[in-house]
Symmetry: C2
Subunit: 396 residues, 2 copies
């Protein structure tokens, strides 16, 4: 006889990825073999024919910047990246004290929408110090049963040009931050090799991963991307380095793009996209075919950078498919696979899926097929994290 | 004492376009002067502080093609327009008999989401004859209290190259269809002037409006657009002609674009966009600044052309804003204004708005501001058409 744990759950009458109806038994937080019988007294959740998906993964967010739950704030900055950075700093002066509360409101909302894991970049720089990192470290302890948070120490305001930032980033890793961030080494720091080398050197010392924001387009971005690939190979960091946004992948000529994709694939660098509306989206299908890990994030949600976003990773998969011109089921499934499998590979999340042995992170939705779930983004019928059913979704 | 009509309604505690809380009295289907008192016994709807918007307008749809309410159908055609046209014809052979039912399911759904008016293109050509037109004419009579349907006789499969189509289009106008459609005169019919002249001649004979699908990009589309502007001016049809999609407006060089916008403005031709994901979106702000009417549609919803779409015009406004790179409130409001005022101008819908005298078409949502309503797309708290509250929104 097996003892019943809090992480045991029998999910009845669900269709894994749109397949035939089965029961999924979760024992001690993991999906059990199909031959295992549920111990007497196991909690039962009737899926009523719902489609079951693995937990969704938000591979790029900025929980510390969000105004989620606060009154509507009209967007004030001008249209350039630098104007947004300036507004971000200014507007956040009054918001640093509420970082944990704001981040918590959004993280709880994301969890209720089926996001089991989230990678969030946290600003680290002399004026705000480690305030954001400390707030997020506290939050992730408290919220761990509902959503797993991975942290990136992010030099939003520059690294080389903002002295003291590098030391704070390294200190953040000492506190438990897993990944070192970066941003537009050529156009923010005006020192491509300087920023990139500083980050890789820190990674070598600390063992942290790397995830660099690359808004730079065309040849400027391509040169930065190439250097990141070079350093990744030189330091044997394949699988530990990512480039977020990678707008340059949508703006260079075909011959250059082809070479860049080869370089990314050879270096084992991942690409993270949020399916932007007015910037080029990296070519998901070609990257996937080349074996590149592509993960999907929301980017910031309702912050000084953007008023958009609702934290729904099914909607993000839809946007990625829509922006990519995908119409066929297998292509739409590829967009969701980037959210789930791509995010898992990026963040080193093992045992993601619905097979026996996988972690019991499940999302149930009323949909016929995976493509239907992505296109329709139905409300979440139930969300299960580590075998425990989460409270019902928030209304908004 | 005033007699109470079925179209009287007192909408209490709402914020018109996000302003201060007021009551809106609708008498006999029209918004009354603020000094008018509701007759005793008038039905009351408590808005509970909701934001009130005028009824939304879907300026481009294909109700006859939709599979709304039918099982999920994986997208089968290849990626070109011509492959989609071929698949559309093939798949619809089995669906023509259910045109009215399928269109009704989608139209009711759109109405429940706050769409008060919809312009739908209906295929007209020899194989299917006027089957679609007749189905939609029947439907619009039956559904008139919930949504107003305007019809476009659409030569989906070509006009010049598909003999018999023109006569059917003209017959459709005789049956009550208001607008004559067209499609890619150069690349579908290989006869730019031939198709355009045929449509304008029919319009001259019948008094119908014109709305031509223009997927053609670059110079091919620009030349078609110019010819449409020329004919519009020559026949004095300013305000009665529209170009749908207009992808060329996003693909020509700046100097050419500037001239095209001038020509469109001078001719009084409207532009209708659905904010495509992977095709260029016409430059809304520049067109609006030039005085061009820009209206917004969904295009087809869940049909042989596309698996996407949910009929929500707030979501369409969000997509238009997102694709246009809009972040400031006034820009996001411009996207919704295209949906409401642009659609009204396109379709000749008078008295659209929330001022006294306007038609009592209202949508109530829980949102702080107009921009918030567009970004968040909250569920519809109530939808009012001609002063009558509609049944609650369908779940999906």
């Amino acid at each position: 006889m097996t003892a019943i744990s809090g992480n045991d759950l029998l999910v009845r009458n669900v269709r894994p990825l749109g397949g035939g109806i089965v029961d999924i038994l979760i024992l001690d937080g993991r999906i059990a073999d199909t031959t295992t019988t549920a111990p007497d007294g196991t909690e039962v959740l009737n899926g009523a024919g719902a489609l079951a998906l693995p937990g969704l993964i938000n591979a790029h967010c900025h929980l510390d910047k969000t105004r989620w739950g606060l009154p509507w704030q009209p967007h004030t900055p001008g249209p350039t990246r630098d104007e947004r950075i300036a507004a971000d700093r200014e507007l956040r002066r009054g918001l640093m004290a509420s970082t944990k509360d704001r981040a918590a409101a959004l993280a709880e909302h994301c969890a209720a929408l089926g996001t089991s894991h989230i990678r969030t970049h946290v600003d680290v720089e002399p004026e705000f110090g480690l305030t954001g990192v400390e707030a997020l470290l506290e939050l992730r302890e408290q919220i761990a049963e509902r959503i797993t948070i991975e942290l990136v120490a992010f030099p939003q305001f520059g690294l080389i040009t903002n002295p003291g930032t590098a030391a704070l980033m390294e200190a953040a890793v000492g506190l438990g931050v897993e990944v070192l961030g970066g941003i537009d080494p050529s156009s923010i720091d005006n020192d491509r090799a300087g920023q990139i080398d500083a980050i890789f050197a820190m990674a070598e010392r600390t063992g942290a991963g790397i995830d660099i924001h690359l808004h730079e387009t065309g040849e400027e971005g391509a040169a930065s991307l190439e250097l990141i690939c070079e350093r990744t190979q030189a330091l044997g960091m394949s699988g530990k380095v990512a480039v977020s946004h990678g707008f340059c992948l949508g703006t260079v000529e075909e011959a250059r793009l082809s070479g860049l994709i080869d370089a990314i694939a050879a270096a084992g660098v991942a690409v993270v996209t949020y399916a932007p509306g007015d910037s080029p989206v990296p070519p998901l299908k070609r990257l996937a075919e080349a074996g590149v890990t592509v993960a999907v994030g929301t980017d910031g949600i309702r912050d000084a950078w953007t008023p958009y976003g609702n934290g729904d990773m099914l909607e993000r998969a839809m946007m990625l498919a829509y922006r990519s011109g995908f119409r066929r089921d297998e292509d739409i499934e590829l967009a969701l696979d980037a959210v789930i499998s791509g995010g898992a590979r990026l963040m080193g999340i093992e045992d993601r899926g619905l097979a026996p042995g996988c972690v019991g992170d499940l999302v149930l939705v009323e949909a016929e097929t995976v493509a239907d779930a992505v296109i329709a983004r139905p409300s979440r019928q139930a969300v299960i994290k580590d075998g425990i059913r989460l409270p019902a979704v928030s209304s908004r």
